[in-house]
């Protein structure tokens, strides 16, 4: 333990990869298999298209992971994505323009998240049921705005985000960098403390309530951003398109080693988990598996991937 002081941050980062190597290895194996089955993946177009399909799931997995780290969980992820999408498809082609419309989408997402967060944190209601109730309210709102799929997104915007360039990947890197920046602030780091040991964190002077509510806000923001992207990717809005994201985001976060009890896990894990889920869809297609096998394989892969490190880590009876 000598002087390498400024390296502390990087050493901490490195330690946090611990326990994730197996997941990274599995993801790498799947990528290798994918490339073997579809060499075209390694072209700009291939990477662009793949990352576009991964991107929204990556964002919602981050949205879920933020909350799980803060000791919460959200069942309104999917509804918020849908809401973001329909608002985008309503406003982006309108007088507010792309910039104004996107800002509204993100604001609405953050606001719905903050509202849920406030109820959970300040009124002391369990997150899982608050967000379940919120999912109905948000889904209803999306249906009011757009009772059926429709609306439009300017073509140039769609082409920019979801054309034949890996812009989505770049955005993901940007989001990850912003997240790292956030974690490097006292408020961001408090998330872990607030999630795992709120009483202790409060006594230490960490902004517990604030960081938890902020986590809900961030989560809503990320979901709305995913909705915005889906609207751009599909060129329109759909009031129910996000539904599957709720459970997928939980599966991705858990695959990535994020725990349900708060303060356990890393964002990189959640991202790797989402990548695994996303890549699995394509790989199973290229393997030519029939739908039955797809369901069965998906169930098994998830269970095995979650079980393996647990079994390996069964050193102590900690829970």
């Amino acid at each position: 333990m000598t002087t390498s002081t400024s390296l502390l941050y990087w050493r901490i980062q490195n330690v946090r990869n611990r326990g994730l190597w197996w997941l990274f290895a599995v993801v790498a194996a799947f990528i290798a298999l994918y490339v073997y089955l579809f060499p075209g993946l390694l072209s700009t177009g291939g990477i662009s298209k793949f990352s576009q399909n991964w991107f929204p799931l990556a964002l919602v997995s981050m949205a879920q992971a933020v909350l799980m780290l803060a000791g919460g969980i959200s069942l309104s992820i999917g509804a918020t994505v849908s809401l973001g999408g329909v608002i985008a498809a309503t406003l982006l082609a309108g007088p507010l323009g792309v910039a104004g419309g996107s800002a509204v989408v993100l604001l609405v997402g953050a606001a719905t998240g903050l509202a849920s967060g406030w109820i959970v944190v300040r009124l002391g209601l369990p997150a899982i049921v608050v967000t379940l109730a919120a999912s109905f309210i948000i889904a209803g709102w999306a249906l009011l705005i757009m009772p059926r799929p429709g609306g439009a997104v300017p073509a140039w915007f769609s082409d920019l985000l979801a054309g034949n360039t890996p812009v989505a990947l770049g955005l993901l890197v940007l989001v990850v960098l912003l997240w790292k920046l956030y974690l490097a602030t006292p408020l961001g780091l408090s998330l872990y403390a607030a999630g795992e040991n709120p009483v202790g964190a409060y006594r230490s002077g960490a902004p517990v309530d604030l960081s938890r509510i902020a986590a809900y806000g961030l989560s809503g923001l990320l979901c709305a951003a995913a909705g915005l992207f889906v609207a751009a990717q599909t060129g329109a809005g759909d009031p129910v398109i996000g539904n599957a994201f709720t459970l997928n985001s939980i599966a991705a976060a858990v695959l990535g080693g994020v725990g349900f009890l708060g303060g356990r896990g890393t964002m990189r894990g959640a991202l790797a988990g989402s990548l695994l889920l996303s890549i699995m869809i394509s790989v199973m297609f290229f393997l030519g598996l029939p739908p039955v096998a797809q369901y069965v394989a998906q169930g098994l892969i998830i269970v095995v991937a979650v079980a393996l490190p647990e079994i390996a880590a069964m050193r102590r009876p900690r829970t």
């Binding site: 502390l8 050493r11 901490i12 006292p186 006594r203 960490a206 050193r315």
Partner: protein
């Protein structure tokens, strides 16, 4: 006592629901003084410091900080005044690094971001001060309990406190680490810090403190200089009557037949341990904190995967593969971290006392409320757990919680008791009861394995003491060789001379 009062609390009262925990309590903390706060379990010590640090609000009374009067201290005010607290309960985040934990709540920042190089520098200083020699990037969750407690202390020092309050900081530290902490506190005192020190280890208090305030049932019963007070006198102050000897008289056990014998035991950190545990003895397990002592107990208890070259338990060959199997072979285990491992905090005392019997009884047998109540009352009486047994365990003071964690095993009359620091945070009177109980156990021909971080306890209570270092059993000290120095030097020996018993 010429120094300035930094914090002066006057006539503080506080109730939880209708239970008055503090009644008209006054206390003054002065710069450059180490001030002891003593009292039995549940006397109100933790509550008082909660009020001093702003975590709790008093019902009545007021507090002067630097001469400014406050009806209630808010956490921000306390922090601004330089009051730092080492809580009895850990306030750490297991996945964050040591450095981040030390800085949590007071992280140095630059441009709004955490200044990691400043954090590293300052965290390194305070960790070195408390003798925590660990990579600061390690997640705190990896550290054994004792080292986590050091992190907790480092965390308080990190704030450069003018008033440092420590609530049982040494309860899971070994003698070596505790001595180190004393030295730190003396240095802080000399630099003008006011220290409020709570401990149930009276020898520490005598060695360290100049002034003492004693609480009994929420009332101050003594507030005086410690000059000229000896251990007996301290206990008298606390208990209010003439104390007996803390440790019962040691008598050699009549029946030294082995009840457990293992060879080549590996479990968790434990490597290749050979040992025998004999009927009628109290076998101490000592060493520096976190050398695999806990894993040894858990391995014997079937709670973590373990392998052994040879093992015989109470006549049965082989290690127990699960806790119920270990229970069936007559082992019981009392964990150190009672909140996480020993108790069901949100449930009643009576219910907690019944838990092992829920595991043993047939799943679908009808529960009988009346007999459960009788048994609960008998157990509570046996260990002096007072009051309404339908209270949630989390409303009990730390020491009383410990009693519940121990008491729940008594009905099954286990021939082997594995105890992981059972007197941690227990007041002196209860300690005496527990010690007497343990010796009685031994005298009845049972075996007691006592993992302890309290070295006097090992010296005075045990028949033999096994000292561990880095997962290996380095020495087994016989009764005749037992002394604090012998244990500490065995624990610190760098080379392993011929090892093991």
């Amino acid at each position: 006592m010429t120094q300035d009062a930094i914090v002066a609390a006057r006539s503080i009262s506080r109730s939880f629901f209708s239970n008055r925990v503090l009644n008209d309590v006054s206390i003054t903390l002065r710069a450059g003084t180490i001030h002891a706060l003593l009292g039995e379990n549940g006397a109100g010590k933790s509550t008082l410091i909660g009020i001093l640090s702003g975590a709790l609000a008093p019902d009545a009374g007021d507090i002067d900080i630097d001469g400014v009067r406050h009806a209630a201290v808010r956490p921000a005010i306390a922090r601004a005044a330089g009051i730092a607290v080492v809580q009895q309960e850990l306030s750490l985040t297991s996945q964050l690094s040591i450095a981040e934990n030390v800085g949590m709540g007071a992280l140095p920042r630059r441009l709004g971001l955490i200044d990691y190089s400043a954090l590293m520098r300052r965290a390194h200083e305070v960790c070195a001060l408390v003798g925590l020699e660990q990579d600061l990037a390690r997640p705190v969750g990896d550290l054994p309990l004792g080292q986590q407690q050091l992190v907790e202390i480092a965390k308080a020092l990190f704030r450069k406190p003018r008033v440092l309050i420590l609530d049982e900081p040494t309860s899971s530290l070994s003698a070596h680490e505790a001595a180190n902490l004393m030295a730190v506190l003396r240095r802080l005192r000399d630099a003008g810090t006011a220290v409020l020190y709570i401990s149930h280890r009276l020898n520490e208090v005598l060695a360290l403190c100049e002034w003492v305030t004693v609480l009994k049932d929420g009332v101050v019963t003594a507030d005086r200089s410690l000059g000229g007070v000896d251990a007996q006198g301290l206990v008298r102050l606390m208990v209010g009557r003439e104390p007996g000897d803390l440790f019962p008289r040691w008598t050699p056990s009549a029946e030294p037949a082995p009840i457990i014998a293992v060879e080549g035991l590996s479990a968790g950190m434990v490597r290749d341990v050979a040992m025998t545990i004999r009927r009628g003895e109290v076998l101490g397990v000592g060493g520096l904190v976190g050398q695999g002592q806990e894993d040894l107990l858990l391995g014997l208890y079937g709670a973590i995967p373990a392998v052994a070259g040879r093992a015989e338990f109470n006549g049965v060959v082989g290690l127990p593969r699960s806790v119920p199997q270990a229970n069936a072979r007559g082992l019981a285990y009392v964990p150190a971290d009672r909140k996480r491992e020993g108790l069901h905090l949100i449930h009643s005392i009576a219910w907690n006392l019944m838990i092992p019997s829920f595991g043993r009884a047939p799943s679908l047998a009808m529960r009988r409320t009346a007999s459960e109540r009788e048994r609960a009352i008998a157990l509570a009486d046996r260990l002096g757990i007072k009051g309404d047994l339908t209270r949630e365990v989390q409303a009990l003071s730390g020491g009383n919680q410990q009693k519940v964690a121990l008491a729940k095993w008594l009905p099954s009359d286990p021939p082997v008791l594995l105890l992981n620091d059972p007197t941690r945070g227990v007041d002196v009177d209860t300690k005496r009861e527990i010690y007497a109980l343990l010796r009685r156990f031994a005298a009845e021909g049972r075996a007691v394995v006592l993992l302890s971080s309290d070295t006097p306890e090992l010296v005075n209570l045990c028949d033999r003491v096994a000292v561990m270092r880095a997962g290996r059993l380095v020495r087994v000290l016989e009764r005749t060789e037992l002394s604090e120095e012998a244990i500490v030097s065995a624990a610190m020996e760098s080379a392993v001379p011929g090892a093991a018993a």
